[in-house]
């Protein structure tokens, strides 16, 4: 099977997944979030006004009718209007995309740089003190709660040293990006470092590297050109899926650093029972996840023909 048929087949498989997702999210929110109009009226709600506003939003219709209407609007590309802010959900999402993409790319860039470097250093010092130290730090990166790490970074680099702003987006100034990207990327530094080390150690045992060394190539060239390149497939896979994670917004990081991204949009919408925003953002997140996985699969097929053949045999 070629790449195109493979991609088309995978894309078609996504339709029922997304449809099922809208149904699950709609049902969950309808049950869990209660009546958003009543909540918005505060403790002094005029029952007639509540009923009128609910009717205007179509919230008095049976749930299945509301769901049907929602799907109908969705097919026309209309994500609805925010209950709370009265602006189109699509606008709210589009406004936050640049901040989210910026943060995700910066976090993944940092994670890739630091993670691969740490993984390579760890692999070449396999079994020694440095290896153990790097792996311990990587484990810490994976297991440190992002909220706590964020606060520590703020205290150290913003409050004490004053190198970076504490929070906010600023005017797009890179200094605002550093601490949230570090906090968000820390988890992935750990993952990438461990994956790089494992993968590189496997490759380093291969015969062709011994041959390369025997030919008199410098160790750096052996390691980077022959070793790392061949070990890179699982690392790239991890990063591909990881970028999906990061784009989904890392709500905690965005909350600690007051970063105006998509994750925070969802958190705020849930807190405010803003159903159209919750549905719109969740759907987008699902799309990003699914798209990231889809791209990784396609990359696999491109990079390693054996995967494609395996698919054919099934």
């Amino acid at each position: 099977m070629g790449l195109l048929p493979f991609a088309v087949r995978r894309a078609l498989q996504l339709i029922p997944v997304l449809l099922g997702l809208t149904l699950i999210v709609f049902a969950l929110q309808a049950v869990a979030l209660g009546d958003p109009v009543r909540a918005a009226m505060g403790q002094r709600g005029d029952p007639e006004a509540i009923a009128r506003i609910r009717a205007d939003y179509g919230l008095d219709a049976p749930l299945w009718v509301q769901y049907g209407r929602y799907l109908g609007r969705l097919l026309r590309g209309d994500l609805g209007r925010s209950f709370r802010q009265q602006v189109p959900v699509a606008d709210l999402i589009v406004e936050r995309l640049p901040a989210t993409v910026r943060l995700a790319v910066a976090a993944m860039g940092l994670a890739a740089l630091l993670g691969v470097a740490a993984g390579v250093a760890s692999a070449v010092t396999h079994g020694r003190m440095l290896d153990a130290a790097i792996m311990t730090v990587a484990l810490l990166g994976i297991s440190t709660p992002v909220f706590w790490l964020g606060m520590i970074l703020i205290l150290l680099f913003a409050v004490t040293l004053g190198w970076f702003p504490i929070s906010g987006y600023g005017d797009g100034d890179w200094r605002h990006l550093v601490l949230p990207a570090l906090a968000l990327g820390a988890l992935h530094v750990g993952y990438i470092a461990r994956m790089t080390r494992g993968s590189l150690l496997e490759v380093l045992r291969e015969d062709y590297l011994r041959t390369a060394r025997a030919k008199g190539l410098r160790e750096g060239v052996v390691l980077l050109k022959h070793g790392l390149r061949n070990a890179s497939l699982p690392i790239l896979t991890l990063m591909g899926i990881g970028i999906g994670d990061l784009l989904v917004g890392a709500p905690l990081t965005e909350t600690v650093f007051a970063w105006p991204g998509l994750g925070r949009l969802l958190v705020t919408a849930v807190a405010n029972r803003d159903l159209p925003v919750v549905l719109g953002a969740t759907l987008l997140f699902a799309l990003i996840y699914v798209a990231a996985n889809f791209l990784v699969d396609c990359c696999y097929v491109l990079a390693d023909p054996r995967i494609r053949l395996a698919g054919e045999r099934r």
Binding site: A32, L33, G34, D35, P36, R38, A39, A40, M41, G42, Q43, R44, G45, D46, P47, A49, I50, R52, I53, D56, R81, R84, Q85, Q86, V87, L92, E95, R96, M151, I154, L155, A158, V159, G162, P165, I166, S167, G168, Y169, T255, V256, F257, A258, P260, G261, R264, L265, V267, T268, A271, N272, R273
Partner: protein, 541 residues
């Protein structure tokens, strides 16, 4: 007609206590022009900058810098002129005639007239607007019919001439003037509303001292001084409202000097008091609010059993609650009207903590040492502080033999249950909508307001109803106070609530800030300080 400007409740209002004070600005300083004042509005953006849709303090804080109404509150919560230069109230107490200032201009350059107020009020009452605050204006004569679609006009709103507006109520209601200070009664220009449609909420055009120049959602709103403001250009060049969801981050921003004021995160009050660098910047004050566990007096075991309800009140140590659970930030409550509210006298004994008396009353109620009482459910809306509150009450009632089971719910689901009267006991706070006892006593205890309108303990007492009805319509202040106090005493005796605490608020203020604290009123809560007029605030550096 008689003049009514400054009619007020000053002595009671001035009784509001400052628990801790910060140094007031040195006398003789003259205001300095310029600078950008930064503070965080809290966790999320204002939902709407359209005055017709403002229901929260976050939106209120921004809208009150962009728009004006006929009147406004001064720091003592007296109603003072804004766009109305003066007003007259007819002897029947139902007709209000407002004389507008000339030369007040919208930010699009057009002069404001009485017709603009008529348009703005009709817009709020028009069902098509879907305003959540129709109750601000629905006492106007004919408003209910207009709301119900029966008439095309509201007879209680009349334009006498270009600068004179007459409002007539269906029946007398002395707090009406205070209602006109709220966003729903602020003036908007018809042409801008019609042009922007639903987007008026994000492209507001008012008469205010500042205009909106930037709004990046979840990040910041920037307001820039309006040089043509009818009361003169503000001292500040800009106000930057930051949106910082995490309270610890807000505190760090304040410490770093990037916020000019901030709130105090829950759980950190004592550490801030102990911190020499922050202690001097902390300002605490009472606000008009009360928190209680409300007992559903329509269901067993509380229905028809006043002694049981009184026993519960005596069984809970409110002093300990205020000190331990609320970190010493609030005062224990003896009654309903909070300090600073007209009618508050401090003279109510309430229900002092007395376990022996609680035991005795329990026995008289038919439940000696709690025997015969099934486990009772105490509902609360999910939050850490509320959970601690519920656990505290549970533990205190357990000491007199009463078993309480706790149930936490998210706010909308909680409200649904509470509105429907499906709880036995539930926690609820109440902050004043306007500084009048009617807003506490009538809204929360009159039988016509049972359920979603405010009376969630479903208290019903015809004598209290009659007292409140009389008080609500009485024009003389002293007589009104007397009637409300009488009603409050009766309600407290009936003990439909376990009265826990009056609220207070804490604010950290940067030393360069001038004329902020002087303007704080007991209806201002941090960090929004929605009633402070930022045009009068200035920065000394």
């Amino acid at each position: 007609m008689r003049r009514a400007i400054g009619a007020g409740w000053t002595p009671a209002v001035l009784a509001v206590g400052l628990v801790l004070g910060v140094a007031l600005p040195a006398g003789g300083e003259s205001p300095r022009r310029g600078g950008a004042y930064q503070f965080s509005l809290g966790p999320s953006d204002p939902p709407s900058l359209d005055p017709a849709h403002v229901t929260d303090t976050t939106s209120h804080a921004v809208v009150s810098e962009l728009f004006d109404g006929l009147v406004e509150f001064d720091p003592q919560m007296r109603v003072r002129p804004a766009i109305a230069e003066r007003w007259e109230i007819a002897a029947d107490g139902r007709t209000y005639r407002f004389f507008l200032r000339k030369g007040v201009r919208f930010q699009n350059g057009r002069e404001v007239s009485a017709e603009d107020f008529r348009y703005s009020f009709l817009r709020v009452l028009d069902p098509k607007t879907k305003s959540e605050r129709t109750w601000i204006l629905d006492r106007l004569e004919g408003a209910t019919d207009f709301l119900g679609g029966k008439t095309a006009d509201v007879q209680g709103i009349r334009v006498r001439d270009r600068y004179t507006l007459e409002l007539r109520l269906g029946e007398r209601f002395p707090p009406f003037l205070a209602l006109l200070a709220y966003p729903a009664a602020m003036v908007v220009p018809r042409e801008a509303v019609e042009q922007a449609g639903a987007d008026f909420s994000t492209r507001p055009v008012g008469t205010g001292p500042f205009r909106l120049t930037e709004w990046r959602r979840d990040d910041r709103l920037v307001l820039t001084a309006n040089p043509d403001y009818f009361r003169g250009r503000p001292h500040l060049d800009r106000i930057v409202f930051r949106i910082i969801p995490e309270d610890l981050t807000r505190l760090q921003e304040f410490k770093a000097g990037t916020l000019h004021h901030s709130d105090v995160p829950a759980g950190l009050y004592q550490s801030i008091v102990a911190d020499p660098a922050l202690r001097g910047r902390l300002h605490s004050q009472s606000i008009l609010g009360i928190q209680a566990v409300r007992l559903n007096v329509e269901v067993p075991p509380f229905a028809g059993n006043r002694k049981l309800r009184q026993a519960f009140n005596h069984a809970v140590d409110k002093e300990a609650f205020a000190r331990v659970i609320m970190e010493g930030r609030v005062k224990p409550a003896a009654g309903i009207l909070p300090p600073g509210m007209p009618g508050y006298s401090g003279g109510l004994a309430g229900y002092p903590f007395d376990r022996a008396r609680a035991g005795q009353l329990l026995a008289e109620a038919g439940f000696p040492e709690g025997k015969g009482l099934p486990p009772l459910a105490l509902h609360y809306n999910t939050s850490l502080t509320n959970r601690r509150l519920a656990e505290f009450v549970q533990a205190q009632l357990a000491e007199v033999g009463v078993k309480v089971e706790l149930a936490a719910l998210d706010w909308p689901a909680y409200l649904k249950l509470v509105d429907a009267g499906q709880t036995q006991m539930h926690r609820m706070g109440w902050i004043a909508d306007y500084p009048d006892p009617e807003n506490f006593l009538t809204v929360l205890f009159h039988s016509r307001n049972i359920g979603a309108r405010g009376n969630t303990s479903r208290y019903r007492n015809p004598e209290v109803d009659a007292l409140l009805d009389r008080a609500d319509r009485t024009m003389g202040e002293a007589e009104r106070v007397r009637l409300y106090q009488q009603a409050e005493r009766r309600i407290v005796e009936d003990a439909p609530w376990i009265f826990l605490n009056y609220y207070s608020t804490d604010l950290l203020v940067h030393p360069a800030v001038r004329n902020l604290l002087e303007q704080l009123s007991p209806m201002d809560s941090s960090p929004t300080v929605s009633l402070v007029q930022m045009r009068l605030v200035w920065l000394a550096e």
